[in-house]
């Protein structure tokens, strides 16, 4: 029997094996040119395009106007519908034409002003304007309607107070409640901040699930995993370097996206600690990689891994709170998404970057993510060992 080596020496051997294997993974990845190109594209061009192009709020909704009055008041009201919410697509003279253009998707809404609008307004008679909204996209349709109602009621309040004010007292002296909003963390409601951060998180998620999973299955498929298993490496030492190598690559790509694109192009603030952000990103990559590896151990070839991860990745991307806010999802989805590490990472990333939060605020999200991630990772290693021993 061999005498047991001292702990320090064993640790050195352990670390060295880890280094060698990590280097092997990095080399293997660097020789895969399509994947490399895709990584570069996803963390630079794609982040820029998304941040620049996507507006989740109502923006430029195309509006047609049917003005039956052609008066001073009607024109004044119409001109209140403008950027950034509405875009005046033009005037029409026939209601049927409006419907036809709505059918064709050329316009999102038609705003109709009745004849004698100005006259009724001046003489204090009730009048009604009409709005036709395309609600094939219900969220946008509702939003357009709510902005339109808001614009009309502002117009209405201004005219009413002006008229009553001249008869009674000064316009301020009415019992009205002015609602004053302050929007925190993103005062200008800059969509580019949110969209570019979200896109970065999506890319991190996709790559951190797929890359390690695919790397493991590729070894299984080519049979090189047999070589690794007869080597003195433990299953843990085979899996950990794969995740480690991908984490290094993804962290590097993230910093390129953050400091190369998002900060200079959109002015995304980094209010909190950057060290904290990157360490927690690493934790997130580990958690999701564990998920991918668990999937990889359950499948035999890469095609299957792809389909398996699709079951997991697509719901994660769409339901974790990047596309629709958590409050918009039905309760069962909210409960199910407690199992998605991405859900916590969204809180963490937005917290650190936009709110300047530190660990004392984020601890519960971090804890949940760590528990989930280590659970998944342990499950992956256990599966792997069970298959080969």
């Amino acid at each position: 029997m061999k005498p047991a080596r001292p702990l320090s020496q064993r640790l050195i051997v352990w670390m060295r094996r880890l280094m060698v294997m990590t280097r092997k993974e990095l080399l293997q990845l660097s020789r895969d040119i399509p994947i490399g190109l895709l990584l570069v594209y996803s963390f630079t061009v794609a982040v820029y395009v998304t941040g620049n192009g996507i507006r989740s709020q109502l923006h430029n909704a195309s509006l047609l106007v049917l003005d039956n009055d052609h008066s001073f008041s009607s024109r004044e009201l119409i001109h209140k519908f403008r950027d950034p919410f509405f875009r005046l697509e033009g005037e029409i003279s026939d209601p049927h034409e409006g419907l036809r253009l709505l059918d064709r998707g050329r316009a999102m809404a038609v705003f109709e002003i009745p004849p004698r609008f100005h006259e009724q307004l001046v003489t204090g008679q009730p009048t009604a304007v009409q709005l036709l909204v395309d609600t094939t996209n219900s969220a946008q349709g509702l939003s357009a309607a709510s902005y339109a109602v808001r614009i009309v009621s502002q117009f209405e309040q201004a005219t009413v107070l002006a008229r009553l004010g001249s008869a009674d007292t000064s316009p301020q002296n009415f019992p009205v409640v002015e609602s004053d909003h302050r929007v925190w963390y993103n005062p200008e409601q800059n969509d580019a901040w949110f969209e570019s951060i979200s896109h970065l998180l999506r890319q991190i998620t996709i790559f951190s699930i797929l890359l390690p999973a695919a790397a493991l299955v590729r070894e299984k498929e080519r049979g090189t995993v047999e070589q690794l298993l007869v080597s003195p490496l433990t299953p843990f030492q085979i899996m950990l370097p794969k995740v480690l190598a991908m984490t290094v690559v993804i962290l590097f790509a993230t910093s390129v996206a953050l400091f190369g694109i998002m900060k200079p192009a959109f002015g995304v603030p980094v209010k909190g600690s950057i060290v904290l952000f990157f360490s927690l990103t690493a934790v997130f990559v580990f958690s999701t990689a564990g998920m991918g590896l668990a999937a990889a151990t359950l499948t035999r070839n890469q095609a299957q891994v792809g389909m398996m991860t699709l079951f997991v990745v697509a719901p994660m991307l769409l339901l974790s709170g990047l596309v629709a806010p958590m409050e918009a999802l039905p309760p069962w989805t909210r409960h199910l998404m407690m199992l998605s590490p991405l859900r916590y990472f969204i809180e963490i990333a937005n917290g650190i970057l936009l709110k300047g939060s530190n660990l004392s605020v984020l601890w519960d999200s971090v804890l949940a993510m760590v528990v989930l991630g280590s659970g998944l990772f342990a499950f992956g290693v256990w599966q792997f060992r069970r298959q080969f021993e």
């Binding site: 419907l99 036709l132 094939t136 902005y147 925190w184 991307l317 605020v361």
Partner: protein, 384 residues
């Protein structure tokens, strides 16, 4: 061209696909499960927004004002808190999204017929939600204000409440919601999900199927056989086009039967359009599979190339007309947008080929171009 050889390749491909039991399961199960999960999960009606109140006034009128928010189904009441500092902490931890601050002398000023300001602090991390919350706050505040104003006017001028109401609100807005009269989120999401599911699953199946042949080396049998390039590609794609077309029918059934979304258009037109769409989306898979050698590369590239542009640029969430110019250009480069027009058009608007022909043409062109590029790129004499 020899039809028998195309048939043989297609038959071989079909056998290969259905022998990989998991592949078959996923090819048919994945679209169905996505449809169900997203159809239920991706409802976009923002409700139950947690909010807290700082009430500096403590009067019956201030409580009445706050009660408007507590009673609304859009908000969920977190509690009264003593000051702005606590509001900050709760907002930062994401426990609440809105804090309402009622100033001192709220009641006193209103009763003296003076205007008062209410401050709301809104979490701005998610601009869409911020926007919706702002809309709700303005609506509730507007209702409260108008009641006060009407009461004041009727009292001041000695007229009835109805007369005062006309005086205060001369302009009514009649909103008519077209195509989706009850503005149900499910009705607008489910048809778009038919597009999303087909758009992501069909290129993936195709790409993996073709690259599998490259990776296992069985493609050399093809290189050395009498099968021509055209016959190989046609036969190879046939099973995947068939699977995806069947899926289109299944998804239509789920949409109309399970989610009870109305289908106002013509079914034959919809099915024909789906086949054209599937022809173009499998073309993306074909193209990817010709450019890469490994299944993993095919997988990652197809996913990134099909899933992200579809989520972002297809009109699934954000209408194409609201995108910036650059993104609109991108949107026109992917087939998803055209098919979104077709599904929403046939399901909800009840329009047919007379309106949707430009979209069909675009998809057909797309399929044709992708096929020709694929044909050019595929060679039986590979380098290296």
């Amino acid at each position: 061209m020899n039809l028998r050889r195309i048939g043989a390749v297609a038959w071989k491909e079909w056998r290969e696909t259905i022998r990989d039991r998991m592949f078959v399961l996923l090819a048919f199960l994945l679209p169905v499960s996505w449809m169900l999960v997203f159809g239920y999960g991706l409802v976009q009606d923002v409700e139950d927004i947690p909010f807290a109140v700082v009430d500096h006034d403590h009067t019956s009128l201030s409580r009445d004002y706050v009660y408007r928010f507590i009673g609304s189904r859009y908000f969920s009441f977190h509690g009264y808190i003593p000051g702005e500092k606590e509001a900050d902490a709760l907002l930062q931890r994401g426990k609440i999204r809105v804090a309402i601050i009622v100033p001192e002398k709220f009641e006193e000023q209103l009763l003296r017929a003076q205007s008062v300001g209410i401050q709301t602090l809104i979490d701005g991390t998610f601009p869409l939600r911020t926007d919706i919350v702002k809309g709700y706050v303005i609506a509730i505040n507007g209702a409260f204000t108008s009641e006060r104003l009407v009461a004041y006017l009727s009292h001041r001028r000695g007229i009835s409440v109805e007369e005062a109401d006309v005086l205060a609100h001369p302009v009514k807005v009649e909103v008519r919601y077209l195509y989706n009269e009850e503005v149900r989120s499910t009705w607008s999401m489910v048809p778009a999900l038919v597009m999303f599911t087909l758009m992501v699953s069909s290129p993936l199946l195709t790409a993996l199927g073709i690259v599998r042949e490259k990776e296992t080396g069985s493609i050399y049998n093809i290189y050395s056989s009498t099968v021509t390039r055209f016959e190989f590609l046609a036969g190879k794609l046939l099973p995947y086009v068939a699977i995806s077309s069947v899926n289109a029918g299944i998804l239509w059934l789920i949409g109309t039967q399970w989610f009870e979304v109305p289908f106002k258009g013509s079914l034959p037109f919809f099915l024909a359009a789906s086949v054209v769409f599937v022809l173009s989306s499998t073309g993306i898979g074909l193209l990817v599979s010709l450019l890469v050698r490994t299944q993993i590369a095919a997988l990652v590239i197809t996913m990134v190339a099909s899933m992200l542009p579809t989520i972002l640029f297809s009109g699934l969430i954000v209408p194409v007309s609201s995108l910036s110019r650059g993104s609109q250009f991108q949107a026109h480069l992917f087939p998803g947008m055209y098919f979104t027009n077709i599904v929403r058009g046939t399901f909800l608007k009840g329009v047919g080929v007379e309106v949707l022909w430009p979209d069909i043409c675009a998809l057909a062109l797309y399929a044709l171009v992708l096929r020709s590029v694929g044909y050019k790129l595929f060679t039986k004499r590979p380098r290296s």
